[in-house]
Symmetry: C2
Subunit: 348 residues, 2 copies
DNA sequence: TCGAAAATGGGTAACGTTACCCATCGCGCG
DNA sequence: CGCGCGATGGGTAACGTTACCCATTTTCGA
């Protein structure tokens, strides 16, 4: 290891000698601990200011808190994650906590490595966004550090869950399409590589709800699901597959906007007009969905609220709460120009 | 701080007693240091395996390396950043290094805080993506830890720079529009909040190049620049402003795809067809640009390569290199359907 | 006025790891 | 046969911070 040229870091000892107090005193001031007179507090604060002291997070990690929360995201491509992180950062700002992010990737191995990386760095709490691992594995981590899981409907006594009511969301979409007069409504879902209980995964819930609503309207024979990925390529491939089927769907409900964008591309390449020949709906209401050229009907999830709530729950857990909390937010349907009545609608 | 229920962490001492060697020996094995016999190495490895030992990054941070590199991103909304991070992660995989990300935000204060957070966490190297701070401030950090800056054309003796040749890229776009027959070509640039030397900032280079190429073609009187932001809103507002001007442009070159998406929306809302009434070009060639409904002419930057290179340079610096490197990648023009000859093209 | 309790300040041993140094052993060479 | 050196292994003092405990001073009620 090369020795860097910079001056030695300002430590608590430097502050102590400057303020003519003990290092213990400085530490107490920093932590707002008991046993400090206002006068001493003032002197120490001044010394901190003058010397530009910043706590050494790694050293703190050896003893106390790091004032760091770790966030694991599957990837950075979904703009919805940006909302979550913004909500979290907002909630954390002013509390002295800093968020660090790591990429979980798409395999369980990579995800485990990412989680371990956070544990090894001694973060005070971890937010897991849409993890793949089985609940038992998450609970293992939750035994070591406070955990909040976002995007899974888990009911665990050991960590909190924040999620969108995907059942209601999917219902809104499918009902909307049925009300428009569609019967051959297909769905594109996500191929998971997960060992979680299927019923806890948002894409499974969306797909199951799609099937249930179809059945409830006597459309069980029209159920058609393509299992690809919640990504542009996945949407494209899924749509191609669905459009090749003998009874071509008149509407496709993609489980995520990203996939819906791929559906739009596939429709275009197949020479189908949207919504003339095919209605398309997504989920997440990403900003792009609102662009006039796209104008995608979608489900809005309050990502900022979800991220903020996750941050609050994490802080509560760090402060000592041990009872589990589940927080569900309500989705809302945003109708745009990608959905309309099917062209061949038989007059009622 | 609550004491967590989990078992005590496995430490180097546990491994040592299991393998019947000293902690020093274990440390040596971990670091591949000199003075270990193959036999001992094997024993220690076995013990590590059996106990599931993982190095405690925070403890390492007190003495040696953390095997962590920090990445500061302005935000998570630009999918181009995902490519950079993927490139970096790829390059780092197998080397034992882990990347952690922090959000820099849009103010210099937030950016400074984000950088400090990385320094305080004792990362071995830092990748700064499109930072706002003045070079002197970056060099201050670079004195303490290896730094690579991505997206600025900086020439500093103290850190490496990885960037796209924005001059060539902007030239490609403007020449393309001129060749199509456009004369009233406008540009949307980014309002920076930066104290960096303007000539080092990519958006300034793109804007300056736009002006230069226009002048070189005798079009100095047609130069029109809207200074908003590289974001959808920014593109929308900028386009509105440009389209209100007396001599309405027939083409708009937005400095980033995100802004170009906003331009498309503004054109739509103004009742202008693209490319019939207005040609639009972007920069970055994000995936969305390729969607048939958008089909945006853009400049492709090899983000994965840039991120990978940044990772390599960072590792080299961590290994001891102190001479500065600048790495520039070549952009390429991707022509799509958002650009065409202007409608009122006078026959030549 | 005395004693006890509260308020205030500091000493010190950890936390897990690594860098530096020293001790031992065996072997080859003069 | 003795010496020196390379190979191998370990002891130990940091790194910067905090938690626990103890010492001293101040306050206040009886």
């Amino acid at each position: 290891m090369v020795t860097r040229g910079g001056r030695r870091r300002v430590t608590i000892a430097d502050v102590a000698s400057r303020a003519q107090v003990s290092t213990t005193a400085v530490s107490k001031v920093l932590r707002d601990a008991y046993g400090v007179s206002p006068a001493m507090k003032e002197r120490v604060r001044a010394a901190i200011e003058e010397l530009g002291y910043r706590p050494h997070a790694a050293a703190r990690a050896m003893r106390g808190r790091t004032f760091t929360v770790g966030v694991m995201l599957p990837h950075l491509r979904n703009p919805f994650f940006a909302d979550i992180v913004d909500g979290l950062t907002d909630e954390l700002s002013g509390t002295g906590y800093q968020a660090i992010l790591v990429q979980g990737g798409s395999t369980q191995k990579a995800e485990k490595a990412a989680m371990d990386a956070l544990v090894d760095r001694q973060v005070d709490g971890i937010l897991l966004v849409a993890p793949l691992l089985a609940r038992a594995r998450l609970e293992e981590v939750a035994r070591q550090v406070p955990v909040v899981v976002l995007g899974r409907h888990e009911r665990s006594p050991h960590f909190d869950a924040v999620f969108d009511d995907d059942e209601t969301g999917a219902e809104l979409v499918v009902n909307h399409l049925i009300e428009l007069g569609h019967r051959r409504i297909a769905h594109i879902t996500h191929q998971d590589n997960s060992t979680a209980r299927p019923g806890d995964l948002l894409h499974v819930i969306r797909a199951d709800t799609y099937r249930r609503v179809m059945r409830e309207h006597g459309l069980e024979d029209e159920i058609a699901v393509a299992t690809t990925y919640y990504s542009e390529e996945g949407g494209y491939d899924g749509a191609q597959e669905l459009l090749r089927r003998p009874s071509r769907p008149t509407a496709i409900f993609a489980g995520a906007d990203q996939a819906a964008f791929g559906v739009l591309a596939a429709a275009h390449d197949a020479g189908l007009s949207v919504p003339g020949d095919l209605s398309v709906a997504g989920y997440d209401n990403t900003k792009l969905a609102a662009l006039p050229n796209i104008s995608l009907t979608s489900i809005d999830q309050p990502g900022v609220v979800m991220g903020g709530t996750a941050g609050r729950l994490l802080r509560e857990r760090i402060e000592g709460r041990t009872t589990a909390v589940r927080f569900s937010v309500g989705p809302s349907l945003i109708v745009r120009r990608s959905t309309a009545a099917p062209a061949d609608l038989p007059e009622a």
